[in-house]
Structures are given as C-alpha cells and as structure tokens.
C-alpha cells in the first residue's frame, strides 16, 4: 500500500517536472540558443579537434547552453510587458502568467551564474568573454537600449557574436583576428534575422512602442540595410575561412554560396518584396550553417 502511494507521488512529481520543462522550453528560445551554441562549438573546432578534447567540448557545451539560456530568460523576464502587447509573443509563458516573474528571474540568474562560473573554471579568458556576452545582452541591449533606439541591435548583436569568439578563444588560449572576423560575420548576419522579423511583425512592434529600423527609417532603408549587412557577413566569413586555412575546394564552395547570397541581396535592393526579403533571410541562415560546417570539417 505504502509502495503504491510512493509510486503515485513520484509519478506526480515527475509530471510536475515535465510540465515545468515544457513551460521553460519556449522561454529559452531553443532554436536561437541551439544556433548560438553551435557557433560556439564551431569556433572551438576551428582550432582544435573535438575527438581529442572531449571533456573541454562537454564543458564548453554546458557553459554555453546554461549562460545563453539564462540570459534569454532574463531578457524575457524584463520584456514581459512588451511581450504582452505583441500578438506574436502574447502566449509566451511570462505574459500569459504560466510562470511567475519571480521564479523566472531566479532561474535566469541561477543559469547565468552557473554558465559563467563553469566558463571561468574552464578558462579565465573564456569566462570573461562569456560574461561580456551576458552583460551586452541583458544590461546594454535589453535593459538600456532596446526601448530607446533602433540601433540597439548593433550592440545587442555583439552578444550574439560572442559564442563563436569565446569558442575560438578557448581553443586558442587568446583572441586573434580570425576570431574577431568570425564574430563580425555573425554580428553582420544578425540584422538579416532581426530586421526581417521587425518588418514581418511591424504592427506588433509599433503597438509595443519598440523602435525598429522599419518604423524609424522606413522599409526601403531597412531592406537595403539587410542586403548590405548580408553581403558584408559573407565577406567576413570568406575572410575568416581563408585565415583558418580552408582548402581550395571548400573555399570554392563557400565562394559559390556567397555569390548566391550576393544575387539575392541585389534582388532585394533593386526589386524589393516581402517574399525576396524572407527568402534572403532563409538563404542567409542556410549560408551561415553551411559556412560553420565547412569550417569545422
């Protein structure tokens, strides 16, 4: 009898934990976090072989997942009032009151500190770069600039570029020009992502009074910005690939993919439309993924 009661109790506890995980899953933006972690791992693998550095790779993975998830939760916690005004984000766990703000704050802080702590234990420079990423994302971008200026994405973008820089710095033991150019490539790719969404959900951002490029400078300027930043991002990736010492075959392949990106960017400038805009966004994401894969192979 007592065994059955214990079994039922533990099964209910398990259900509660699973429900909690289900609630926190959208709060960490799993796809975005996954992409950023992948860039960090790729940054490390441009220097060192993952097979012979498995413990460091595991440490790198856990510290990136926890710190990026933590900062994303803190971002969601701070922006819960904005999210409540936007149709796209209204159903997120915080604005829909499925998770209490206090609990989200605690979880966000704990994950951030665990991530930073682990990163510092692995390597002091790596920990410092991870701290800089968290600081840029939570303090500079989310708390200070997001509601004040549409240019917040530039400084906020630095936090998105940090994982690849951190990964390479961990593998190398120092920061080199290739790491900076790789980070620049990601930084320049970020407007393609954010600006595309700011145009697609233009009314949402306007309702929440969040300044975007589209609302301040108009759609034409925003589309030109996306096109130019995509081209510059591809140039940065090709430059970094050359610096890493990528083979001619892979460089040729990266060159072909870059030409595709250039063609779409020109189409975006001279024949702009939402379809081309979203197509460029998808192609640029695919381009980034492919270039990361080519660099680690």
């Amino acid at each position: 009898m007592q065994f059955t009661t214990t079994l039922i109790e533990s099964s209910e506890q398990m259900k509660k934990v699973l429900t909690k995980i289900q609630l926190y899953w959208p709060l960490i933006k799993s796809l975005q976090t996954g992409l950023l972690v992948a860039t960090g791992m790729a940054g490390y693998m441009t220097v060192r072989c993952p097979v012979f550095n498995l413990p460091t790779m595991v440490g790198l993975f856990i510290s990136l997942v926890t710190s990026i998830s933590g900062s994303t939760i803190l971002n969601m916690w701070w922006d819960r009032d904005i999210d409540a005004k936007m149709r796209r984000t209204q159903q997120r766990p915080l604005p829909s009151n499925k998770i209490s703000p206090r609990e989200a704050l605690v979880v966000g802080l704990v994950l951030s500190f665990v991530g930073m702590g682990l990163a510092t234990t692995i390597d002091a420079l790596f920990g410092l770069i991870i701290f800089a990423g968290l600081f840029f994302d939570v303090v500079i971008y989310t708390i200070w600039l997001k509601r004040r200026t549409c240019w917040s994405i530039v400084l906020g973008g630095i936090s998105g570029a940090i994982p690849i820089l951190a990964g390479r710095a961990l593998g190398l033991g120092s920061i080199d020009w290739i790491g900076i150019v790789l980070a620049l490539g990601i930084l320049l790719w970020i407007p393609t992502h954010i600006l595309t969404f700011s145009m697609r959900y233009f009314a949402d951002y306007k309702a929440a009074c969040v300044p975007t490029f589209a609302s301040v400078y108009g759609f034409t300027f925003t589309r030109a910005t996306i096109a130019i930043s995509s081209v510059l991002a591809s140039l940065a990736m090709v430059g970094a690939a050359w610096g890493i010492g990528m083979t001619w075959g892979f460089l040729r392949l990266l060159g072909v993919l870059s030409i595709g990106l250039l063609l779409l960017a020109f189409t975006m400038i001279f024949r702009p439309s939402e379809k081309v805009n979203f197509g460029l966004f998808k192609y640029a994401s695919l381009y980034m993924l492919s270039s990361m894969m080519l660099m680690v192979l």
């Binding site: 001619w248 075959g249 072909v256 595709g260 779409l264 379809k275 192609y283």
Partner: protein, 202 residues
C-alpha cells in the same frame, strides 16, 4: 503549384551532389576548366537552394533562360578546354559571346522568335558538345567507358534546357504543371550522372 516534400528532398540531394563536386573538383585541371565546372555546378547548387526556398514559381522568372544557359555553356567550355586544347580559346569566346547575346535579347525584350533562336543555338551547340565529346573520347580510347555518364548528363541538360527555355519563351513542350512535376527529378538525375561521370573516370 505547391512543392511536395519529395520534390524538396530530390532538390536537396541534387544540391548536395553539386556541392560535393565543387568541393572535390577534378584532379589536374588548370584554372579555366576549374572555374567553368565550378560555374556549372554552382548554378545547379544555388538554383536548387532557391527552388527549395521560393518554390517552383521562381522558374517563371525571365532570368531563368540566362541561368539555365549558363550550365551547358560552362560545362561544354570546361570539357573543350580539358580535352580539345586546339579549340579552347575559340570555344571560350563562343561561350562568352553567346551568353552576352542571350542577356542582351532578354534585357532588350527582343522579338520572341529571335530570343528562341538564340536559345536553341546555344543549347544545341553546347548540349551536343557535352553529349558527343565524351562519346568520341571513349571511342578513341582516350577516356574510360564510364565517362559516358557525362554524355548522359549532357543529354539531360539538353532536355532540361529545352523544357525551360520553351516554357520561358511561351511555347512549352509540356504543360506548365508537367514540367514542374518532372523538373526536380530531372535535375537530380542530371547532376548525379555528371558527378558519377567525373568521379568514376578519374
């Protein structure tokens, strides 16, 4: 017309094969044929990705006639440069010149009959070069019989090119839907035979 998941998978495999060919290249080639082959497979790769992203409607764009001519022209130039050194410069000039003529007829909206004539000349000569050159090389013992895969690829390029060019010129051989239905499979078959031809004969 909505693209099915199978179509997307076929296109993805075609793009991966093209990417593989660009990355591995062909041993012992000089700069011009390497660039020519890279352009041919690069067009397949980028076109495949754009088809996956934008859907088959992208084929209605007027630029398709130019892009679809780039594949046979660059591939034929690569083959001639590689195997017929006496004609390499002449063929390169021919390829560039006719590509320019295609661009001009498209940009200036030349009469339909003229545009069609230009496309037929380009696809005809380049297609025959890709089809016949490997056959001659195999028959004269200068290449392994497996090089005939390149001929098969050439024939499929010709078929693809004619279907797209005539569709674009408003005189389709098959209905719009039928072309869209067979194109992903045809593109994959074409890429696979070309890659097999180059891989198995070196």
């Amino acid at each position: 017309m909505k693209m099915s998941i199978l179509d997307r998978i076929l296109l993805l495999i075609a793009t991966l094969l093209a990417a593989y060919q660009i990355a591995v290249g062909i041993d012992g080639l000089s700069t011009v044929p390497t660039i020519a082959y890279s352009i041919a497979f690069g067009v397949i790769l980028v076109a495949g990705l754009l088809l996956i992203i934008f859907g088959l409607e992208v084929l209605d764009s007027p630029i398709v006639a130019i892009v679809s001519s780039l594949i046979p022209l660059s591939l034929a130039t690569g083959l001639v440069w590689h195997h017929l050194p006496f004609f390499k410069v002449q063929y390169l000039v021919f390829a560039i010149l006719w590509l320019l003529i295609i661009v001009i007829t498209r940009v200036l909206h030349a009469p339909n009959k003229l545009s069609l004539f230009v496309l037929i000349v380009v696809h005809g000569i380049a297609g025959l070069t890709i089809f016949l050159l490997p056959v001659i090389l195999v028959l004269t013992g200068r290449a392994l019989p497996r090089y005939l895969f390149v001929s098969a690829g050439g024939a499929l390029i010709g078929l693809n090119g004619v279907l797209l060019a005539l569709l674009n010129a408003g005189k389709p051989l098959l209905s719009h839907e039928s072309i869209f239905r067979v194109l992903p499979g045809l593109l994959l078959l074409m890429t696979a035979t070309l890659v097999a031809g180059f891989a198995l004969s070196t």
